[in-house]
């Protein structure tokens, strides 16, 4: 089974719009792994078939009747998660040290429900996605659960490919979204931030030994910077799969709840060419850093 992760480093470069178009073109399972700000469902309108509960890290809970305010838990907590009145705050990482050091057993670690994972059907095929509850942490673990769900869906539906809509950044959710993928497609934009973030996320892909391709979105916002990106990639033999012009049509399509494939013929043709290149590289394993 082939897995492609679409990432960007910088947010807002167009990952989700492009993944929605790939969903239209590919015979694949789609996984929305941007779990703390998921948007893909707005375009794909999934019908939820199955839900699973997600438990993130445990959390320490204090029984104030048993607490003698000795302060040992506070002294040993490395995360500044316990205040003077021995209340646990959102910095708790569920390590269990406070439970261990408490002399009166006033603290216990408890499992909590932190979100849900969905197995769904969309107009373009099966989709795995998730909901992280408000102010819950550990989204990397939830990303892994969405990818497992996608794998099961692919087996069940006889699909040979998973396309992952990744989160921005380079930290734990991104690592969880790309590890074990056959290739990443980096969507960048010709701005100083876009270039800077593309370089960092390329280093991450390299670090984990994953082939990377680049697509320049909104390339005509700053053609000089777009050339800079091309030069950067050419020097490193990174495949550029396409350049997409800035167009209000993407926003218009979004407002209508549609992918660009269903909304604008010219842009649809361009994205189709990009997808052909991506799928060829994915198939042959060329492309490369």
């Amino acid at each position: 089974m082939k897995q492609l992760a679409v990432i960007s480093g910088k947010g807002g470069t167009g990952k989700t719009s492009i993944v929605a178009s790939f969903a239209f073109l590919a015979d694949a399972v789609i996984a929305d792994c941007d779990v703390d700000a998921p948007d893909l469902h707005i375009l794909l309108k999934p019908e939820i078939k199955e839900r699973k509960e997600y438990s993130g890290l445990k959390i320490a809970v204090v029984d104030h009747k048993k607490c003698i305010h000795c302060g040992k838990c506070r002294e040993y907590c490395r995360f500044d998660a316990i205040d003077e009145d021995i209340n646990i705050n959102e910095s708790c990482e569920g390590c269990g040290v406070c439970e261990y050091v408490c002399p009166t057993n006033a603290i216990v670690l408890k499992q909590r429900k932190s979100g849900e994972v969905f197995s769904s059907m969309t107009k373009f095929g099966p989709m795995a996605h998730a909901l992280l509850y408000t102010a819950e942490e550990t989204s990397g673990k939830l990303v892994t659960m969405v990818r497992n769900e996608a794998r099961q869906l692919a087996e069940k539906c006889g699909k040979d490919m998973i396309i992952i809509d990744g989160p921005p950044g380079i930290g734990c959710p991104v690592i969880a979204a790309i590890s074990g993928a056959n290739a990443v497609l980096i969507i960048t934009e010709p701005t100083v931030s876009g270039i800077h973030d593309m370089e960092r996320v390329l280093q991450v892909a390299n670090h984990f030994g994953i082939n990377a391709m680049v697509c320049i979105n909104k390339y005509d916002v700053n053609k000089e910077k777009a050339e800079e990106i091309e030069k950067y990639c050419n020097e490193r033999e990174i495949e550029i799969v396409g350049k997409i012009p800035f167009s209000k049509k993407f926003t218009e399509a979004m407002v209508h709840g549609l992918s660009i494939m269903e909304y604008d013929e010219k842009l649809a043709g361009l994205i189709k060419k990009i997808w052909e290149k991506v799928s060829l590289t994915l198939e042959n394993g060329k492309g490369n850093i």
Partner: protein
């Protein structure tokens, strides 16, 4: 006064608002987007390393270890695995809680340190601090925590938050006096704004909304804010000129006088609110 600039969705313009707001009001800027820090690209300044951000890690003395398995059983992060011949340690999974050292009955564990990133400082038009997570590292939160300790050095500060609504964003905005949520008038912008509003409300941080790229999508963000009684503190229209200045790494408040004044008024208005 500490003002955090956040958003659920990435690419709505946090960095543009945070950098321009800081320069117009001559206040310190903290780049808390430690995974992809960009604020420095808009200033001509030399950055100097202030410190390494280290996490504590266990070091196991194999001569003392009896392979009892208590440490790996205690570890909530699966960073330790007890094998028949030795204990295997996965540094990227370790949160540095120190629990394994406490629980080891043989006192076979002591602690060392490993660096996961750095804190840097620069000064030019403004005082600037940023944190940078090393490539390949997973945990952004300890860097943001270390960065926020430097807030003591300044009176006022703008904190540029990472995107999303999970741990790194929460760590940035908690204890802020005010949070600006930057959004764009599109269905994606609205959806992620609602998630971000839930977070700031739960954290009890006073907040207002800036609609960036106003005019590109629809009116739903505005309708939502009105219905919920949320302050729209300003709107920045979509403009090719602003987009182009941003793409070159230029601050539009310095190039467009009217925006310099607007950002000063905005900061004064926030000061008055809290």
């Amino acid at each position: 006064m500490k003002v955090a600039v956040a958003s659920g969705k990435g690419g709505t313009g946090k960095t543009a608002i945070a950098t321009n707001l800081a320069v117009s009001n001559n206040v310190a800027l903290f780049d808390c987007d430690v995974e992809e820090p960009n604020d420095h690209l808009f200033f001509d300044m030399k950055l100097q390393k202030v410190e390494d951000v280290n996490l504590k890690i266990p070091i196991i003395d194999e001569r003392k270890c009896t392979l009892c398995g208590k440490c790996s059983e205690f570890c909530q992060y699966n960073a330790l695995a007890t094998l028949p011949s030795h204990v295997l340690f996965f540094p990227e999974l370790c949160h540095g809680c120190g629990g394994c050292k406490l629980i080891c009955p043989e006192e076979a564990i002591h602690e060392g340190e490993r660096s996961i990133g750095v804190i840097e400082r620069g000064e030019n038009e403004i005082v600037f601090y940023r944190g940078v997570l090393n490539v390949g590292e997973a945990m952004a939160t300890p860097i943001i925590k270390a960065l926020k300790k430097k807030l003591k050095a300044v009176e006022h500060a703008i904190l540029d938050s990472p995107p999303g609504n999970a741990c790194p964003m929460i760590e940035t905005i908690k204890d802020a006096d005010y949070c600006i949520l930057v959004t764009e008038p599109t269905p994606f912008g609205l959806h992620d704004l609602k998630l971000a509003v839930d977070v700031v409300k739960k954290m009890n941080v006073p907040f207002g909304v800036i609609i960036n790229k106003d005019g590109i999508g629809d009116k739903e963000v505005e309708n939502y804010c009105k219905k919920e009684g949320i302050d729209i503190i300003t709107k920045v229209p979509y403009s090719r000129k602003i987009a182009s200045l941003y793409s070159q790494g230029k601050l539009f408040a310095l190039e467009m006088k009217e925006w310099d004044e607007k950002f000063q008024e905005l900061f004064a208005a926030i000061e008055e609110k809290i």
